[in-house]
């Protein structure tokens, strides 16, 4: 999926509801209440935090191009997709990204894999003095322990790992471009990986597109690693999946909620603003479909809000809130978040 396609896909979902910068924050993985709730409202889990390094400059360039092509337009400070834009969205077999699940941790896995392959390759060539591509100590320590634990000098780790990689790369959801980018980023004895620019140039793509293709492959492989079929990569991917996809701060709030504290008490205890705690609740509800919201909002209120939202064809908080003065913004957000989960 190319960068422009991703932008169109996102803007299609948020059309008329959010500003032109909302996709930027989503792709960067901004940990604000707004962005996190939007992930659930608009079903954008795939794209959350996939490009943490994205520069505003590159983003603006791409958005400007979309305006120029008349795929999108700006009306009353929200971004809208045009009919031309909708028809430009190519039908995807399925979206291969899973940003919400990995949140950048996929790169930790990649670093481990890169260093493990490099080390095995060097040792196989009997050239044990080499400069590791991965410099950070956590990765080096992890891979060292991993290799020793797997008895890499005796056991045929190299062969087994290649076999597992092969199997995962053969996944029919992927195409050869994915596989090529993945394998050509790896390094080993006398075989150095290619830079994004080199990969992109060879395939006449932009660097951003090259990174996205690589990421699709990485996510798909991680999604399919299993203890049974790929035990070696499974243990290399230790602690990569986020079991409870909560930010640290929301996680703390969640623990206090479970102990029965009220929002005011938690705000007090943690010396945080009540708004922040409310953001956390939205995040928790987004992450956990069965989290009970009845203490914050009645069933009737949920119904009322959702009814209004579909009647007005909007997810804009102010518009809903203006028609229902007795509910709070927080309650509107809660209702909207829950409703999307019911549709999943």
């Amino acid at each position: 999926m190319h960068f422009h396609q991703i932008l169109l896909f996102i803007i299609h979902k948020i059309s008329g509801q959010r500003s032109e910068n909302a996709p930027f924050y989503l792709l960067k993985g901004k940990k604000s209440g707004q962005t996190i709730q939007d992930v659930t409202y608009f079903q954008l889990h795939a794209f959350f935090s996939i490009l943490p390094q994205l520069s505003k400059e590159d983003y603006d360039t791409a958005i400007t191009e979309l305006y120029k092509e008349q795929f999108i337009e700006l009306k009353e400070s929200t971004v809208h997709i045009t009919d031309k834009g909708i028809s430009a969205i190519t039908q995807q077999k399925n979206v291969l990204l899973n940003g919400w699940q990995y949140r950048g941790k996929e790169h930790v896995f990649w670093k481990r894999l890169d260093l493990a392959v490099q080390t095995l390759s060097q040792f196989h060539a009997n050239d044990k003095k080499f400069v590791p591509n991965q410099k950070d100590i956590d990765t080096q320590q992890f891979v060292k322990d991993y290799l020793i634990q797997h008895n890499f000098r005796q056991f045929n780790l190299s062969k087994e790992m290649k076999h597992e990689l092969h199997l995962l790369l053969e996944n029919p959801s992927l195409d050869d471009l994915h596989r090529t980018f993945f394998v050509y980023r790896l390094s080993g004895f006398n075989t150095i990986g290619l830079t994004w620019e080199q990969l992109a140039r060879y395939h006449k793509l932009s660097e951003l597109d090259a990174k996205i293709i690589f990421l699709e492959c990485l996510h798909t492989m991680l999604d399919n690693i299993s203890r049974e079929a790929s035990p070696l990569l499974y243990s290399l991917a230790k602690n990569i999946r986020i079991e409870t996809p909560l930010t640290d701060s929301a996680f703390k709030t969640n623990s206090l909620l479970e102990k029965g504290y009220s929002l005011e008490q938690i705000a007090d205890l943690r010396k945080l603003k009540i708004n922040t705690i409310e953001d956390h609740v939205i995040e928790i509800v987004s992450a956990n479909k069965s989290f009970p919201i009845s203490t914050f909002i009645s069933k009737e209120q949920v119904y009322e809000i959702l009814h209004l939202s579909s009647e007005l064809q909007t997810k804009k908080l102010t518009e809903i809130k203006n028609r229902l003065p007795e509910v709070s913004y927080f309650q509107v957000r809660l209702a909207l978040t829950r409703s999307e989960q019911l549709h999943e």
Binding site: V131, P132, K135, I137, T180, L186, T191, I192, G193, T195
Partner: protein, 471 residues
């Protein structure tokens, strides 16, 4: 075989010492303070690494450049030394805690001048027996050096807080004034001084004046397509590294660009590709070079007048590490002096920046790191007027330096001799291939470029995976 030679062979894999190395190492072992000036690529690291194996206790190496520190740690690890650690602000908190608790387990501790202010670190250090302290890139101590690090000056007080300990100062570039500065700051006691000639006889110098930027490009294209690399083209802007690389690629050269704005992972890949000979040429800003361990670089091309002689020497010094003939070429136009001055002043505080810095409500505003660092240092020591005055002087000196460099390349005097003279050194022996002012026969230095290697082979992921993991 002497004990020293035995260690040299066993630990470092060298058969013999280079000029001066053994002498310096013996002085360190005998507990003398040492100040050594050696050109880049002459085995400076060995000087502090080898004596460690002849002495009890830990060696502390203070290094102002993080990338350099990382590279040295890596090199020691490659030599099989596991008892080595780098303690700097980039070390994650937990790792740092762990390292502090086990400091005595390390033989080599690399650290930054900033870190020496850390109380916890110092408490842990006090419990160690220290073999000696190494001040690497010691010229950074001097305020007159081209990359002055104010934090480095604090090493003086820090040394005083330790019990009597020997100090080894190493640098590749120092004028007489700088050497005096170093001695004073490091409280060196009648040190053994070793000043190696900074001359690199295997590097021939060539300066070429052209009329405009377009001519530089054609010159580079002509040179690179007709002669052998490997080589580095240094330029001043990121954009230009990309432009040069694109033009050269079109001519069938295997080339890449390199600058600081690239992702770290990509920078590492380019370094490795170059090092292993998969790339012939690199078009780079001055960000390229640290940690390149490539012996056979034959050409260094500058398309500009460098901002300092010391920086220039460092960059050309990356050629000919194997001792075989290489050439350093410098292209310039008559207006390049202004351009270079502009580049070197880009990060320099103007009078109004200094005035703002002295205002009470001043919070560190957006300024280049170097500026903030130096300004902060002087702000604590001088008043507003004197600071403004001082910066005027530094600026003026900078201008003079660049002018001086310009006249060096323009006049008719041997360039090698002038470069050495800048560092208060005499030229003892002129090599056959000296410089373009002494008469230089370039074709006899550079091999003729044979044919382009065809590296655009079809990508095949299965084959590639098999190459990586052949089993």
């Amino acid at each position: 075989m002497s004990k020293l030679n035995e260690i040299l062979q066993k630990k470092f894999g060298h058969i013999s010492f280079r000029e001066g190395q053994k002498e310096i190492i013996e002085q360190i072992i005998n507990g003398k303070d040492v100040i050594a000036i050696l050109p880049t690529g002459m085995g400076k690291s060995l000087l502090y690494q080898l004596p460690a194996y002849m002495k009890e206790g830990t060696v502390i190496i203070v290094s102002p450049l993080l990338s350099l520190m990382q590279d040295q740690v890596e090199q020691l690890k490659i030599l099989g030394e596991k008892r080595v650690v780098a303690i700097n602000s980039f070390l994650p908190f937990q790792e740092r805690e762990l390292a502090f608790r086990h400091l005595a387990d390390f033989k080599f501790i690399f650290t930054s001048p900033e870190m020496l202010q850390n109380e916890q670190f110092n408490r842990a250090l006090k419990k160690l027996s220290i073999a000696y302290v190494v001040a690497d890139e010691a010229h950074c101590i001097s305020q007159w050096g081209f990359d002055f690090r104010p934090d480095y000056l604090r090493i003086s007080n820090w040394l005083q807080s330790l019990n009597k300990v020997n100090v080894v100062a190493l640098t590749a570039t120092a004028t007489k004034d700088v050497v005096e500065d170093i001695k004073k700051t490091l409280r060196m006691n009648n040190p053994f001084e070793f000043i190696h000639s900074l001359d690199r006889p295997a590097i021939a110098y060539e300066v070429v004046e052209v009329d405009n930027q377009q001519e530089k490009l054609s010159w580079i294209l002509g040179r690179v397509t007709s002669t052998e690399g490997p080589g580095i083209i240094y330029t001043q802007s990121r954009k230009k590294t990309e432009v040069y690389a694109a033009f050269l690629r079109e001519k069938g050269i295997s080339v890449a660009y390199y600058h600081a704005k690239m992702e770290q992972s990509d920078r590492i890949l380019i370094q490795q590709q170059f090092q292993q000979g998969h790339l012939e040429w690199i078009c780079a800003t001055n960000a390229f070079g640290m940690g390149i361990h490539k012996d056979n670089i034959r050409q260094i091309i500058h398309d500009h007048i460098p901002t300092s002689v010391a920086g220039y020497m460092q960059e050309v010094g990356r050629a000919a590490r194997d001792g075989d003939q290489a050439i350093a070429s410098l292209l310039y136009t008559s207006t390049d002096v202004e351009q270079t001055f502009y580049v070197s002043m880009q990060d320099f505080p103007e009078e109004q920046d200094i005035q703002i810095a002295f205002k009470p409500e001043y919070a560190e505003v957006e300024q280049a790191e170097t500026t903030t660092r130096i300004l902060k240092y002087w702000k604590e020591r001088l008043n507003e007027q004197d600071t403004i005055q001082l910066f005027k002087q530094i600026k003026q000196k900078k201008w003079q330096d660049i002018q001086k460099f310009y006249s060096m390349i323009q006049n008719d005097i041997c360039l090698r001799q002038q470069l050495l003279h800048y560092f208060d050194q005499p030229l003892l022996e002129k090599p056959i291939h000296c410089c373009s002012k002494c008469k230089l026969d370039v074709p006899s230095i550079l091999g003729k470029r044979m044919k382009n290697r065809n590296d655009q082979v079809e990508m095949n992921w299965k084959k590639r995976l098999h190459t990586l993991l052949p089993l």
